[in-house]
Symmetry: C2
DNA sequence: GCGCGTCTGTGCGCTACCGAACTTTAGAAA
DNA sequence: TTTCTAAAGTTCGGTAGCGCACAGACGCGC
């Protein structure tokens, strides 16, 4: 346990409270493409991503799924258990492989009951997630593909803590709910402006500032505040 | 207190728990156009609509606000207090005038602490609201104006418990995040199909089944379940 | 080096919706 | 009755994104 706590939700808990929780946490590696929850299916475990990233998707009839939220080390999966709801409203798909901490649903409930700091952190995160989903809703409604792509890349960078990651246009098109060609057009436009570069699934953000300027204000608004701020 | 409890969230609480809460509830009349909360502003009171309806709106830069949710007698406003958050992420605008029950934020917190049935009902509603917002996000992304209008009319009917209500095209256009002309076109199409009729702000749903067929599946999915089901 | 599958780029006609202006009509007020 | 205003209807050019189809291009395995 000497290492830094990599999940910010856990890191923001009082030391003692975290130490009470730590033995129950099970380190796991999330693999790309893994489905943690299906939509409306039971939540058997909660996950605290450390260096991984998970998309929240909603199935829509006659369409591919749309992404409504993105969870990384700033958050958790299965927070609805904190509301006493044992099933996930959305599908959770591992988007960036990496480490996470896992806990059984029963264990999580137990910890919530005896650990008020955890309960507070979880509640605060539920609220932050609602804001994120709300903002995404508005953004998807009003903003052009290029701006939304820029936002998505920045959100991914924040959660992966890296400006290089793997992601094909095909995949991005599902995330943004547009055609693959739409992504190709937006991505090559961003590349022409020297904001990113990419080849065959390897994306590299070259100019963070420029990319922020290319995306809509939603990025700044929906940025999940540091967990420490959540608890203040 | 002999009358039926008109807010379903309250009605679903155990009799004893409700009776403990009832004296603190302050009957108020919400007037059309009243703003209960501004976005990101403090929540001073919570509201349980009885025969009124309130829109949840998100401000978007360079645009009118977009609606992300709709609250009627099946829900409440200010539920985020149940998460320990004292400000509203969205703007709450009274959409359908009518009666509601009001409670101060402090009083609500007090009741939550001593009344587990209320806490459970509130948590369940928060979850239902998240689902509604999520579904709205996806619906706004994929479905055509006519289907979204049909959905909105049905949701309004459910919350107002009436198939007649007042609502101008101008106003609807803000709710749906489209031009007024877009609403006019969609509405006259629905009228031509004899599903609704309207004149100068008076809308009348003629054919519920037909209207449900004209709208997307989102309506059925995002329908907030009866509060009694929420608690089961 | 060859073949093949995956990823990316291009072209084309089409539709829903936009922005902006203008007209008509219902109904309340004078 | 006349006047006035808010609501609803119409028109028109423009565009973002769609569906579909196909063409290169990179990289891996053999």
């Amino acid at each position: 346990m000497g290492r830094a706590i990599q999940n910010e939700l856990l890191a923001a808990m009082p030391r003692k409270a975290y130490e009470a929780l730590a033995p129950a946490l099970d380190p796991v590696t999330l693999v790309f493409g893994e489905v943690l929850y299906e939509a409306d299916a039971p939540v058997t475990h909660v996950y605290f991503p450390c260096e991984s990233m998970v998309s929240l998707l909603l199935p829509v009839e006659h369409h591919f799924d749309v992404e409504v939220g993105l969870v990384g080390s700033e958050g958790m999966l299965g927070a609805s258990l904190g509301l006493g709801i044992a099933h996930s409203p959305v599908k959770a798909l591992v988007q960036g492989a990496g480490s996470a901490l896992r806990l059984s649903a029963a264990g999580f409930r137990r910890e919530l009951a005896r650990n008020p700091a955890l309960a507070r952190a979880v509640n605060a995160y539920i609220h932050a997630l609602m804001k994120q989903i709300t903002q995404t809703a508005a953004c998807n409604r009003f903003h052009v593909v290029e701006a939304r792509l820029a936002r998505w890349l920045l959100m991914t960078r924040d959660r992966m803590r890296s400006s290089k990651f793997r992601m094909t246009h095909e995949f991005l098109s599902h995330m943004l709910g547009v055609r693959r060609v739409g992504v190709t057009e937006a991505a090559s436009s961003l590349q022409r402006k020297k904001l990113i570069e990419y080849t065959r699934g390897n994306i590299h953000i070259l100019d963070d500032r420029g990319l922020e300027a290319a995306c809509c204000g939603c990025y700044g608004i929906a940025k999940v505040p540091a967990a420490s701020a959540l608890l203040s």
